[in-house]
């Protein structure tokens, strides 16, 4: 297999979409009638082929060539990127999930997420440009004025223009409230934005004619901290009333970073020097707006762990079948390393967690769709809460696993894994950013224990735990192979319940430092259990449809193998994390650094 070897895991994706989540039921909702399962699968097949054939081969090129800043402030992306981006736009893929009013395809978010999985696996550095554009679109869809939407949205939905999100400043990273970029009103109703932003993904590039920067800044007399943040549209090129492009705005990329990975994605220092900006929504509401749209962006970043895990897994499996070394137990001659039990453990550890991640990510997206579209308000509310709970888990657990999975793939390759030639080391370097940006995983954990456990005074998380317990009971009742899965899941669910109760109590007692101390092990625990829950559902579904023609018996039988391995050998980690969650802050506070 070459270093570009990646094929979209369409059969698996389809299984999850049809039998773990339910795209058939989504298609029954008003507005999604055209998104019947057959059409969705057709779209994923063609998009998957396009991404695998056109973007995957550019992944290594991008890693080697990097995006480069030229002396005039322009940025040149690696060879082939501009052409690939143009083809991506021409094919109409950017538009799939967005509203038809702005030229979108009106498909459910879960379909966008499945497409994103493949695009990211094919080329993570490339995928960040559409990803940031999507975030900007989301913001304008929710909070832009009608005029702003008309001016910018349709061009962004097609992908003709791209978008960026400008939060970070040197002194304002996790603490966005510390930002100092200023905006002052101009006579014509627009604003003048001045300040410096750092780490801006695709802040400058040669893929599109215009870049719509969304910039967080403070207006005069804004309250301090997050309550005084406003959001501005600052186009790279100003747009005339008739939609044509006018003069360059006073925004410039002053440098780009040399990084550990995602080298093709330009990470820019942006200087705004009295740049013309347009206020989105109301002043001082920027942080509230960001929170509203954070779920989709965080889920997308969580997905990066899945994508690169899958890509690295495909390479590891191929390498393990090819590389001959040593003699496996019972073999009469030399063996391919895939025959060694320890290598099989590595591969199955990857596969089980990849499948668990896929289920959790797609479930989170399905919750977002139901929260947006279900006719019953109580269902909408419950699904919104579940999405809110699952989002930090998808982001934090997903990206931590991304690092672990790609690391295992390097290990499967032995010394060749450490050598760049095999391409597997790149995935490990590329994914390392994902636990950091879009809210560090530490911040995700704090969000989970601080904000999300308290949803509906704890009832939301209790309902989730009850749903997990119900799946466990179902599996126990199903007997055979499923029985052990159910028993393991029930044990893990109890541990998570205990941890949850402890944190809720600590919170009620005002021991916030204890809660913060347990945040990261709790998020991990929640991820491990959510994964076990979803794999149990996957095994139940596989046994229910055994014999149907769409999936081979072998494929369905493997679902049980994977779920059983996860339940009996990975899921016990959950109980092991309980002491870390409930230890409190004492030792952490006592330690001297």
């Amino acid at each position: 297999m070459t270093v570009t070897g990646y094929a979209a895991p369409l059969t698996d994706m389809r299984f999850v979409l049809e039998h773990v989540v339910d795209i058939g039921a989504l298609a029954a909702l008003a507005g999604f009638e055209h998104a019947d399962p057959a059409t969705v699968i057709g779209i994923l097949e063609e998009a998957g082929r396009f991404f695998a054939e056109q973007l995957a081969p550019l992944n290594r090129v991008g890693d080697v060539q990097h995006s480069r800043r030229n002396d005039d402030g322009s940025v040149t992306t690696p060879e082939g990127f501009a052409k690939a981006y143009q083809r991506y736009v021409d094919a109409g893929w950017p538009a799939v999930p967005f509203p038809p009013e702005y030229g979108g395809g009106g498909f459910p978010w879960v379909v966008a997420v499945a497409m994103q999985e493949v695009m990211t696996a094919a080329n993570m550095a490339f995928s960040l440009c559409p990803l940031l554009t999507q975030g900007a679109i989301d913001m304008l869809l929710h909070y832009g004025s009608e005029e702003q939407r008309e001016t910018y949205l349709s061009k962004m939905v097609t992908g003709e223009w791209t978008g960026t999100m400008n939060l970070t400043e040197p002194q304002a990273g996790s603490d966005v409230g510390a930002l100092t970029t200023r905006a002052v009103p101009a006579d014509d109703g627009s604003w003048r934005v001045t300040g410096q932003k750092i780490f801006i993904t695709y802040g400058e590039h040669d893929l599109a004619d215009n870049i719509v920067h969304l910039v967080l800044a403070r207006v005069p007399d804004a309250p301090p901290g997050t309550k005084g943040i406003s959001c501005f549209i600052v186009p790279k090129v100003l747009v005339a009333a008739d939609g044509s492009l006018g003069p360059r705005n006073a925004v410039e990329c002053v440098s780009i970073e040399e990084k550990m990975g995602i080298n093709a994605s330009p990470t820019c220092v942006m200087a705004y020097d009295g740049a013309t900006g347009f206020l989105v929504g109301e002043a001082n509401q920027g942080m509230r707006y960001m929170f509203k749209m954070m779920n989709t962006a965080r889920l997308s970043v969580g997905l990066e762990g899945l994508s690169l895990g899958e890509r690295a897994y495909q390479q590891a499996v191929a390498y393990a079948a090819e590389r001959r070394q040593g003699q496996a137990p019972g073999a009469s001659a030399g063996s391919a390393i895939v025959d060694h039990p320890d290598v099989r453990r590595m591969l199955l550890t990857m596969r089980a967690q990849i499948e668990a991640l896929r289920c959790v990510a797609y479930l989170t997206a399905e919750c977002m769709d139901l929260a947006a579209r279900h006719p019953d308000a109580s269902v909408r509310e419950a699904r919104q809460e579940l999405a809110d709970l699952l989002t930090p888990i998808s982001k934090g657990w997903g990206t931590d696993l991304g690092v672990e999975l790609t690391s295992i793939a390097v290990q499967v390759h032995g010394g060749m894994g450490y050598v760049e030639e095999t391409g597997v080391a790149q995935h490990y370097r590329d994914i390392r950013i994902a636990p950091i940006y879009e809210g560090t995983n530490g911040i995700q954990a704090i969000d989970l224990v601080g904000r999300k456990l308290g949803l509906r005074d704890g009832a939301a998380v209790t309902e989730l735990l009850d749903a997990i317990a119900a799946t466990a009971a179902e599996a126990i009742g199903a007997g055979d192979d499923l029985n052990v899965i159910g028993i393991a899941l029930d044990g893990a669910q109890h541990a998570l319940r205990q941890a949850t109760t402890w944190l809720r109590q600590a919170s009620a007692d005002g021991r916030h430092d204890d809660v913060l101390a347990g945040a990261t092990p709790y998020l991990r625990m929640a991820g491990v259990v959510a994964g076990g829950w979803m794999l149990a559902r996957s095994a139940l579904a596989a046994s229910a449809i055994q014999g149907e023609a769409t999936f081979t018996d072998e494929f369905l039988a493997q679902k049980t193998v994977t779920a059983r391995f996860y339940a009996t050998q990975l899921l016990p980690q959950a109980a092991g994390l309980l002491p870390a969650v409930t230890a409190g802050v004492e030792d952490l506070a006592a330690a001297r650094f």
Partner: protein, 258 residues
């Protein structure tokens, strides 16, 4: 300008295939996809219709179990309509029966100016169906086209040969087979996929077409022997000490490719 393209739907070559042990034919039960070597014909047909400024691309395909995946890809690329022949009785059809079926199916799509096929399928490689279709329909046939142009009522083809190409012409309507890789097939667009859902696909059987299935037993061809492909041999690495180009020339000369 109405162009018909014969498209075969085949097992995904990326998956390991298997042969039916009773007659050594390829198993085709699972999901099928558009044969890549037919995607060139579809692209060529779309370009010809585009250049002509009017007309349509129609598709004909014979496949088991009402298989539509490959047809859907070609419809999403821009073809307007299709006839799908799916009939359990046709399982194991030889090249000649296939040609009769496709010829009859093509005739259901109205006036034809040109029929395009791949020179050979990627899963069967008999490489005789296009010429047999021409014979069945009484049309002229040109094989191994690397480029195709229409000039009034005349078909102009650059026909690939070992040494280069021949310029060949014939009157329309005609049948032409195109070699793989001569054009860059477009990817179906999102809009194309959505539009394909409502394009007409007529499903017919052998009886509808008036063709008598003969099965593998009555086939005019036989698979005499099956042998495993030789293991891929280790490549030869040429170190460049300044004379690498000479070594490469020598190597290619040995292979008789230059």
């Amino acid at each position: 300008m109405n162009v018909i393209v014969c498209v075969k739907q085949i097992p995904d070559p990326a998956q390991v295939g298997s042969l039916d042990p009773t007659d050594n034919t390829l198993k085709r039960e699972g999901k099928l996809i558009l044969d890549e070597s037919d995607s060139y014909g579809v692209e060529m047909a779309l370009q010809l219709v585009d250049t002509a400024g009017g007309g349509e691309v129609g598709l004909v395909s014979m496949a088991p179990n009402d298989e539509m995946s490959g047809l859907r890809t070609a419809l999403a690329m821009g073809a307007a309509k299709a006839v799908l022949v799916s009939d359990a009785e046709l399982a194991g059809s030889d090249a000649l029966t296939t040609a009769k079926v496709l010829a009859a199916a093509a005739s259901r799509l109205g006036d034809i100016d040109l029929i395009i096929a791949g020179t050979e399928s990627s899963d069967g490689y008999t490489g005789t169906v296009p010429e047999q279709i021409a014979e069945v329909l009484g049309l002229p046939s040109i094989t191994f086209a690397k480029s195709v142009a229409i000039d009034g009522g005349t078909l102009r083809v650059n026909r690939q040969t070992e040494a280069g190409y021949d310029e060949v012409t014939c009157p329309l309507p005609a049948v032409v087979s195109v070699t793989a890789g001569v054009v860059e097939p477009r990817y179906p667009s999102f809009k194309g996929i959505m539009a394909a859902k409502s394009k007409p696909v007529e499903k017919v059987t052998a009886t509808d077409l008036g063709v008598t299935p003969v099965g593998w037993a009555g086939a005019g061809q036989q698979i005499v022997e099956v042998a495993a492909a030789p293991e891929r041999e280790a490549g030869e690495i040429v170190e460049d000490d300044g004379d690498a180009h000479l070594k490469i020339v020598e190597f290619l000369d040995k292979l008789k490719v230059i």
